[in-house]
């Protein structure tokens, strides 16, 4: 067994965001399952900041510890693809690529449209979204898609920027709800922030979904175990990982790697979305 039979994946995140684990562990297990069939593994490295991530790529290239890299959380003006090119490390981007790097894309525009259509169909006209960090490309794509979809539907939309943590979901939800004219529905960019928001709504004496509708992203166990169960967007994280592995394997075989897309997400209606108070206007 060669030491270079690993595919590297670096996760740069603050240690307190440990709760990010369910999403990434499921994503990685999807990648691993496909790679294992071909005798390959995922080398996961968790670092505190972007500089440490780039240092890891340099080390892996030098020591020949990774034969390819899966790049996650692409950002605007991302410095990483250029570094990987310089190092000669083949890369598959999970998300929106910079230039023509092989990528597995999520249809964020189509998914946001589905989310807005669901809430608009219930009669919501004031929608807020608590997003992930706005350095991330997919955060910006979703924001643009939300604003584009809201106007024609007669919806007033605001976006607050969170950091994916349960705490930021709770704090920003509280800020929205204490406002003089709060939204009747809130969309969250992940599961943890939605769980934080659900807790805060309860503490403020609101009954979900009678008084307030909540829609989470990243359908994880957390969404099914909350009370009431969170309505979510349907991204199958495991399948996302398998698609990424497919591109990695093609890349390593020297085959042309076409851009792959995750299926457009649909709304899984559970127990946290309903018509707004006062019903359809």
């Amino acid at each position: 067994m060669s030491t270079t039979s690993a595919v590297g994946l670096v996760l740069a995140r603050a240690p307190r965001l440990l709760g990010a684990e369910p999403f990434f562990m499921e994503f990685i297990s999807g990648i691993e399952e496909r790679l294992a069939e071909h005798g390959r593994s995922v080398l996961l490295h968790i670092v505190a900041d972007p500089a440490a991530e780039i240092a890891a790529y340099r080390r892996w290239a030098q020591l020949r510890l990774a034969e390819a890299v899966v790049l996650v959380n692409p950002t605007a003006g991302d410095p990483r693809p250029a570094v990987l090119r310089e190092l000669g490390l083949p890369v598959v981007v999970a998300g929106e690529p910079d230039g023509d790097a092989p990528a597995v894309r999520r249809d964020d525009v189509g998914s946001v449209r589905a989310a807005v259509a669901h809430l608009a169909g219930l009669g919501h006209r004031r929608i807020a979204r608590i997003s992930g960090p706005d350095t991330l490309r997919h955060t910006r794509t979703r924001t643009a898609a939300l604003l584009a979809a809201a106007g024609p539907a007669g919806i007033d939309a605001v976006v607050l920027t969170g950091d994916y943590s349960e705490e930021s979901g709770a704090a920003l939800t509280a800020r929205l709800l204490r406002d003089g004219d709060p939204p009747s529905a809130i969309i969250y960019d992940n599961d943890l922030m939605a769980v934080g928001g659900l807790d805060v709504a309860g503490e403020l004496g609101l009954t979900v979904p009678r008084d307030l509708s909540l829609l989470a992203w990243d359908d994880s166990s957390l969404c099914r175990l909350s009370a009431p169960q969170l309505t979510t967007m349907s991204l199958d994280v495991h399948d996302f990982g398998e698609l990424v592995a497919g591109s990695v394997l093609a890349l390593l075989d020297g085959a042309p790697v076409r851009e792959r897309w995750c299926p457009t997400e649909t709304v899984i209606v559970r127990q946290t979305t309903a018509p707004p108070p006062g019903g359809l206007e």
């Binding site: 684990e21 562990m25 294992a36 995922v42 996961l44 490295h45 020591l63 166990s221 099914r224």
Partner: protein, 406 residues
């Protein structure tokens, strides 16, 4: 001492006196020693409550590292953690399959430096290797109770790995390690009696009583998979009848799924034997159940009712306050099992005194490898809580093997 600082995050010397019960001069000396060794650093001041401000101490995360290895038949998982038990790197490699134990030891010894180098950590900062495996523990190594691991029975796994890696090695079973990892991560809260229910290729439990893992005299405490849930049930591989693992464990769920031709076709279930194939098919059934696929959901919920009955038995025997579901099986299907277990635990005998809180671990997929690393950190740095250090238990006797008395 280190354990007290780790558990607190940051703490002052005065705080340490009240937590440990040591005298002020003792604390002062111990803290100086830890700072000299680089294990502990001073980090700012506590809020002043009048009088002089107190200097806060915390662990120096990157001063030491530990390797945790979960040895499985289908897959081997390696993690590297820092001094606080937080994962820095992780990799999975093919499992031991039918390989000879000595070959596997050579392989592990080669993988560890690769993992350490991938993170750029100086190998001198490694405190040791925690190695865990499914099944009970003996002084020397794997008991080999599990049918597929029978050829490991007489193999001195720990001693061989210590020799091959030139590092201290600590052994334990996967469920106990997962429980320790959960304790380190704070998953049990303030409970004085807690258990981690571990679903891998089988079913087990690790117990943490008053903050310490309870192993029993032979490391066999918490063998939840062999709690009887049906006195007339099928014969288990352990030789007994009606064990929950035989009635409703992952292999039983997979067997039922494979027997349903429609389901087997839809989910692409295999006919492969061995734990790797069982784990893959169980994951497929678990994911389908999560999506609400009716037949898969029914299979998992049936299994969950039996697991819940066994969990209630354990809670009644140990007066448990918290149960955490963990391991690769629950990482996939935990959200299906959890509501069933919560419901069942409402009927626990102790309910008038306290409820039993049932939760899903936040690191279910890698719990036992993370726990293995915690095990070696604890054993090397917190001597009072010592697990089974290989070098000190070489004359340990093998536990009786019920499987061989069949």
């Amino acid at each position: 001492m280190l354990d007290a600082i780790r558990a607190a995050g940051t703490i002052s010397r005065v705080g340490l006196i009240s937590v440990t019960g040591f005298t002020a001069p003792t604390i002062s000396n111990l803290v100086r020693k830890l700072i000299d060794e680089g294990l502990v650093v001073e980090t700012g001041h506590a809020e002043s409550t009048g009088g002089k401000r107190r200097v806060l101490l915390r662990l120096n995360h990157t001063s030491r590292y530990a390797v945790g290895v979960c040895l499985g038949q289908g897959v081997m998982t390696y993690v590297l953690t820092d001094l606080t038990g937080v994962v820095v790197a992780r990799i999975s490699r093919p499992g031991v399959g039918a390989e000879a134990p000595a070959t596997v030891v050579t392989r592990i010894a080669a993988e560890i430096p690769t993992l350490v180098d991938s993170v750029g950590v100086d190998r001198a900062r490694l405190v040791g290797v925690g190695l865990v495996f499914p099944g009970p523990l003996t002084g020397r190594g794997v008991a080999g109770l599990n049918p597929e691991l029978r050829h490991w029975r007489e193999f001195p796994l720990g001693a061989a790995l210590e020799q091959a890696t030139d590092l201290p090695v600590v052994l334990d079973n996967d469920a106990t390690a997962a429980a320790l990892g959960e304790h380190w991560a704070g998953g049990f809260g303030t409970a004085s009696a807690a258990a981690a229910l571990y679903m891998g290729s089988g079913l087990g439990a690790g117990l943490v009583i008053d903050g310490i893992t309870y192993r029993g005299p032979s490391g066999n405490a918490g063998e939840l998979g062999h709690v009887c849930v049906d006195a007339d049930g099928p014969r288990c591989w352990c030789g007994a009848r009606g064990c929950v693992e035989a009635v409703a464990g992952p292999a039983a769920v997979v067997a039922a799924g494979r027997a349903d031709a429609g389901l087997a076709g839809a989910l692409g279930l295999t006919t492969g034997t061995g734990p790797a194939a069982v784990a893959r098919d169980f994951a497929a059934i678990g994911r389908a159940a999560r999506r609400g696929q009716r037949r898969s959901l029914a299979l998992c919920e049936r299994s969950a009712r039996y697991v819940a009955a066994a969990a209630r038995t354990l809670a009644n025997v140990m007066d448990l306050e918290v149960i955490v579901l963990t391991g690769p099986g629950f990482a996939v299907a935990g959200s299906v099992y959890l509501p069933v277990l919560r419901q069942e635990l409402h009927t626990v005998f102790s309910r008038s005194a306290h409820a039993v809180d049932v939760r899903l671990s936040r690191s279910a997929a890698t719990a036992s490898a993370v726990g293995a690393a915690a095990l070696v950190l604890e054993s090397e740095l917190v001597p009072f809580h010592r697990g089974l250090r290989v070098s000190e238990s070489l004359d340990g006797e093998f536990a009786p093997l019920p499987g061989s008395a069949r």
